[in-house]
Amino acid sequence: MTRYIIRRLLQAIPLLLIISLILFLLMQTMGDPLATMGGRTVTRSEDRKRLTRQLGLDKPLIVQYLYWLVGNDWTKLDLDGDGILETRGTRRGVLRGDFGTSLVNRGVPVTQVIWSRLPNTLLLMLTAEAFILILALIIGIYSALRQYSFLDNIVTTITFFFYSMPVFFFGLGVMYIFAVNFKKWGLPYLPTVGMFEPEAGKSTSQIIWHMVLPVATLSFGFIAGYSRYIRSTMLEVMGQDYVRTAKAKGLPRPQIIYIHALKNAALPIVTIVGLDLPFLLGGAIVTERIFAWPGMGRLFLDHVSRSDTPVVMGILMMIAIAVIVFQIITDVTYAWLDPRIRYK
């Protein structure tokens, strides 16, 4: 197993290099970071010329990629435009742990930009994921065990209702109902946006209170999807011979369901969760935007819209690495759940 993991990790290195090159080239087609620089008017021509030179955007694409990858501290640059290379570069490159600095938040290291948001995203997304899994398991198992019952039909209808609802509509809907109108009607209300109220300060209870609507928005669509999936796999497993044998042996029903059936039904679910987990790092663009949650999704959107290549590359590479790592973890989990699987 250890050799298998090491081999997978080594295989990931050239893969990541190829991914980084493709992403870097794609980023160059996405817009002009100096177009307005976030302003409301077009950047003055003299400033554009100067900044293009200072930020190294006048270099050929392959040179820009090389600087991003291995740094530019081995070469000299012309910052004042006099044609003389007099200033040594300061970037050390990704291979030496330097992801560069943001073009938008000029001078701020990419790692610092990402780190400022990652805990908020993990907090929101992991809470939502836990909420999704717990509720989906309860609903899915219940629906499978009581197939076509009245409650199963009700649950099925409700899950399809939420599954077909766009996230932005659900998010704004619950905000208007539980935050704006409840307050207007004098009922207990939830906050609209942010992580805390300025008057109350940033405390754990404030954060939990402000997470209610975003977590609900993130969860409902997924609960619907996951519970349908669990229902389907559970139904399939419950019809297997070994479950019938377990019933014939007189095993207690909870043991049959949770030990024999659920563990086998969980394999496809592990695949889905394993694929989902790395993308949790990327945050939820729509939900974070609606509820002004300071997470990775908003960070990504803000910096993509201003063509901030270093930050966007940093986020994408982080997700690429996470996908590879979680794939390996998923494979290991497979082996744990299904003793028939062996990796050599």
């Binding site: 817009g31 002009d32 077009v42 910052l79 001078g107 209300y189 008057e199 002004a292």
Partner: protein, 572 residues
């Protein structure tokens, strides 16, 4: 299996770790510092941790920004949201009031020829600084801070957003602590609107510069704990909020508010919901269509003209442009075939009106000019006179085998897309077909070198909102030297228009320091652009601010919106 508890523990630890990081980072003041007394009249309050001691009544005004500022260093940003925040914690040498008239902040009086602040040849400006101005840490503000700011702008190791107009300065001298002498090679008319937009504290940043050779990476850029505005920076948490508290050392008077809390809410609909729910005292940059909803919720709407006018630019390159647009009669026909009055009334809810010139709502707009009327019959006559007739019966006019089909592009902003649809329908009625295209802003505004569709001449008509060096009327968009080419791809004259008479007038006005003389030049400029339809104003584009009823004494300026923020107050 041993791995199961292990995985559980890992997941548990990640959640706890994230919760702890999110709750603790960066260090926030204890709740007792900011907590007001719990109002008993509120129906139900969200859970608030019990304060450890009796809280003091504090006046905290919450602003909602739909864009987070990129940096707080005034030299490093073009962002409007960052610029307007500068009036809170930083200082300009002079602000502009709600009539857009300059009034001194750091200087004793505005330089003029009468007081000797402007030399006889108009090339030298002398500033005399007040003797009571201090940074928030108590250090005096002196001419050395001005000189340091100037040096940082023009230093090639600093990637400042704009070096304008400091790169035009011939010399900057500081003969004493209270005097700054700025000399230009030529008279420079827009000095009042473009000089000293923010000041750097030399005593904080010079050590950084000497250690690193640049201030690009200075901590002060994101955490300017030393400032010179009515409020002092406390903290900025990325994506979430920024806080500023009253500056006890502010020389124009101690602010009446204790704290400004800026919350970043990127979604327009969420901003509206937050304002309606009372979760914000001031919001801005919302759509015209949201105004009735906000007004119904008791939010006061203030329109502030900051020089922006939405308009159509035409690609006029004599070789590569559409042949129809070379004829002034066709451009005039377009102006009269497009009902901008109904557009302003129906689509923009009557909150604005068609723009006539790029200098509307300033003293530089020729008051005798009136917007082109909506007159489709006259438009048809003009097109006929110009030889654009529908010869093949397809409903579209043509001439010499060329159909009058124009590509009309703009950004993806909703109101612009609606405008496109209206214009397409109306121009079709006079036989002009518009093909509509939309781009994300960073693509649309890309330069010639980056393949921007407007800059490259791929659009016959391109629409956006632009301003001058407000409140100064100067702009470079119509200069012949700004036409982008392969050799000079950074040019901003995307119309590729080179009218030598207009070019000469623009160059002349930039040197006319005398107001009355310059005003007459701008009357000529605005009339020329209007009559030749080099630019067609679609609507005046004021900044909209929504103010809650509890915020008092609010005055807003187009150039420096929060010029009197130290006088703002919150109702009890």
């Amino acid at each position: 299996m041993k791995t199961k508890p292990f995985l559980r523990s890992i997941a548990f630890l990640i959640v706890i770790f994230s919760l702890a990081i999110a709750a603790c980072k960066p260090a926030t003041p204890p709740p007792t510092e900011v907590a007001p007394p719990v109002e008993e009249t509120e129906p139900v309050a969200p859970p608030v941790e019990e304060p450890t001691q009796a809280p003091e009544a504090r006046k905290v005004a919450t602003f909602i920004w739909t864009q987070e500022f990129d940096t707080l260093n005034p030299l490093y940003t073009n962002m409007w949201f960052s610029s307007i925040t500068q009036q809170i914690w930083n200082c300009w040498a002079w602000d502009f009031d709600d009539q857009n008239a300059p009034h001194p902040v750091l200087v004793t009086e505005m330089p003029s020829k009468e007081n000797g602040g402007i030399s006889e040849d108009d090339k030298t400006i002398t500033l005399t600084l007040r003797d009571d101005i201090v940074w928030s840490d108590g250090e005096p503000i002196t001419s050395a801070d001005f000189k340091f700011t100037y040096e940082m702008v023009i230093d090639p190791k600093n990637t400042v957003a704009s070096a304008y107009p400091y790169d035009l300065i011939a010399s900057l001298e500081t003969p004493d602590e209270r005097t700054v002498v700025i000399s230009f090679n030529e008279p420079f008319a827009p000095w009042a609107a473009s000089l000293w937009h923010g000041l750097l504290p030399e005593h904080v940043l010079r050590p950084v510069y000497e250690a690193e050779g640049t201030i690009d990476n200075a901590e002060w850029n994101r955490a300017p704990t030393v400032g010179c505005g009515p409020f002092t920076f406390v903290e900025w948490e990325s994506g979430s909020f920024a806080r500023f508290v009253a500056n006890e050392n502010y020389w124009l008077g101690k602010p009446k508010l204790d704290e400004i809390f800026i919350r970043f809410v990127p979604d327009d609909a969420s901003q509206i919901a937050a304002l309606k729910a009372g979760d914000g005292d001031l919001g801005t940059f919302f759509a015209y269509s949201d105004v009735p909803d906000l007004e119904a919720a008791g939010i006061q709407i203030i329109k502030v003209f900051s020089g922006y006018n939405e308009g159509w630019f035409f690609y006029l390159d004599p070789e590569k442009g559409h042949p129809a647009l070379q004829d002034v009669r066709v451009r005039q026909a377009i102006a009269m075939a497009f009902d901008r009055f109904s557009l302003a009334e129906d689509l923009l809810l009557g909150l604005t009106q068609p723009a006539v010139t790029l200098w509307d709502n300033t003293p530089y707009a020729d008051p005798t000019l009136e917007a082109w009327p909506y007159d489709p019959e006259r438009a048809k006559q003009l097109l006929d006179e110009a030889g654009w007739i529908d010869t093949n019966g397809d409903g579209i006019r043509d001439k010499d085998g060329v159909e009058l089909v124009l590509t009309y592009g703009t950004t993806t902003r909703e109101v612009r897309q609606d405008t496109q649809a209206v214009a397409q329908q109306q121009l079709l009625e006079v036989g002009i077909q518009l093909e509509l295209v939309n781009f994300d802003p960073d693509l649309f505004f890309s330069s010639y070198g980056e393949g921007g569709p407007a800059a490259k001449g791929e659009l016959d008509i391109f629409e956006y909102s632009t301003t001058t060096e407000f409140p100064d009327p100067n702009m470079a968009d119509f200069l012949c030297s700004e036409i982008p080419t392969d050799d000079a791809p950074e040019g901003v004259n995307w119309e590729s228009l080179c009218d030598e008479e207009l070019d000469a007038l623009f160059r002349l006005q930039a040197t006319q320091v005398d107001f009355a003389t310059r005003q007459q030049t701008f009357y000529q400029i605005s009339r020329m652009i209007f009559e030749k339809v080099y630019w067609l104003g679609v609507w005046q584009d004021p900044d909209l601010f929504g103010i809650s009823g509890s915020l008092l004494n609010v005055k807003l300026s187009g150039a420096t919106p929060f010029f009197n923020i130290f006088e703002w107050d919150l109702a009890e």
